[in-house]
Symmetry: C2
Subunit: 336 residues, 2 copies
Amino acid sequence: MAIVVDAMGAEGGVDVSVTGAVNALAHIKDDLTLVGDRHRIEAALGAHRGVFDRSRVTIIHTDDTVSMTDKPRDSLRKRDSSLAVAMRLVRNDDQSAFVSAANTGATLAHAMFTLGRMPGVDRPCIAVTIPTPTGHLLVSDAGANVNCRPAHLVQFALMTETFFSNLHGSDSPRVAVISNGEEDVKGNDLTRQTAQSLRQIKSMNFQGYIEGRRLMMGDADVAICDGFVGNIVLKTIEGAAGTLAHMTREALQSRWTYKLGGMIIKNALKLKSRVDYSEYGGAPLLGVTQAVFICHGSSNSKAIMNAVVRASRFVELDVTKQIQQRLDECPIDPLW
Amino acid sequence: MAIVVDAMGAEGGVDVSVTGAVNALAHIKDDLTLVGDRHRIEAALGAHRGVFDRSRVTIIHTDDTVSMTDKPRDSLRKRDSSLAVAMRLVRNDDQSAFVSAANTGATLAHAMFTLGRMPGVDRPCIAVTIPTPTGHLLVSDAGANVNCRPAHLVQFALMTETFFSNLHGSDSPRVAVISNGEEDVKGNDLTRQTAQSLRQIKSMNFQGYIEGRRLMMGDADVAICDGFVGNIVLKTIEGAAGTLAHMTREALQSRWTYKLGGMIIKNALKLKSRVDYSEYGGAPLLGVTQAVFICHGSSNSKAIMNAVVRASRFVELDVTKQIQQRLDECPIDPLW
């Protein structure tokens, strides 16, 4: 039982991945396998000597890495990269999980190629967590599938709902489809057929449409969309938070009283970090045969730590099996 | 020459529309025609007695109104509503413009029915302004057309670019297509074909794709998308601003020093109003034969005033004719 971490993935360097993974050891029972350049991993581990049980960490050396600019298809040819080697280690131990802050497209390609899809799943999806004033919302698909059919969105809903139930301990998460308005007459061809199909799944707490305005209000637990819309929604939130923080900083420079007030409340104003989903520790790739967590390339060690902890919980609760059962329970009409 | 205002439209009541329209008189040469319940309009005008030239304002009485809950198709049957009467007044005077904070769907239906599309336009679009740290961005289509073909998006780009040039005095506005990433390989079927078509228009300053993160950074002037995505982007920004403001308020309550700081900078923190597009005074419906400006139902009088001023500029600069010329110059391949 091990959480396998591609130590070469994060933009911040090997230190970020290694520190995050090592800090997670206090919160998990699994051991760690760190894959990548042995010297750099050893050096990064050195900084934490004495604070963790070295016998719980295995290093697997690789010379090659997948870079952020490698195209997914090209990355598959890098059979000895840390990403490829780590993914094979996961395949060979069904109690293991994969965590990385590497190139998302490449991770997706390697997961599909090495682990493969679960039976009955057409398209795996990425479920990204965003904060709401009262909890969390999972947006799924966050970008793995750009052109989707309704049957794909129905699968995203079933898989993400199951993940939410397990990881957040909720019996019947509120599922909604992202649309351009809340009434049934709204939506496009894709969302209308999806909503109609989800309504037929009696065991789902389906809430109909949710519009952009309400996404962050805590009115749903799982928001379903195609990966094109999901990517735009998540990046728009990230961009809006950044721009608003920038505008606030500028406004705070406009009067000396504002400058004073701004100094006092500096920490309360960290808007961007509040919607920075990397803080939530990686997004699961749902629908592949094993646990795969993808972190933002710009993840810090806290994000990696959280991802490792979530990956461990994912394996412990056997979420993959739960997802399989949920899909078997609700067979999807291929005509959808 | 008159700006025709459906005085019954705004959720805030007749006062809001009348106050906004009357305050615009100082900034425009046109006269005003206010359509709706004469008694309520007279009463609202009473509050401004002496501060405007009463001879520049005509009241046209109607008994009926279109409500926010009327479906667009049903609203067309209300031939004597303030919306229908106002739209007919606009049709009968080609130097006039329509402004309303009524039901957007109904306004769109009446504009299509009474004024009609410009020759060669398949689908009129709504262009909504959002603020950036350095200026403005127009998002188009903001919600008029949910299922679109590439040819529609190309028309949105040409029309919105022309509007931007005229109203913001820019020679070659930067046009981009909203997508899930900036590289050419990103996008869905719709955006790829649209980008390919726009690249063929040599006279356009086309920048390729723009992702959600950069929308509010001031890197583009015109961002093109279908109305489904446009609605979601705009409402997500609105919702994110509201939620972030809420979270900031909560954070400011968590320590007494924060409370103190918060009191000092209260006005600098009005995040929501900074992305409240109603502040920008109405969105043009581009592609119909005359000037139509649609305001948010929850508009305040400032938004109505700005819309009336923009509508007047639109007529003065003959933007409708400019759009027609731009479309004629760049014929659109029907296969797109």
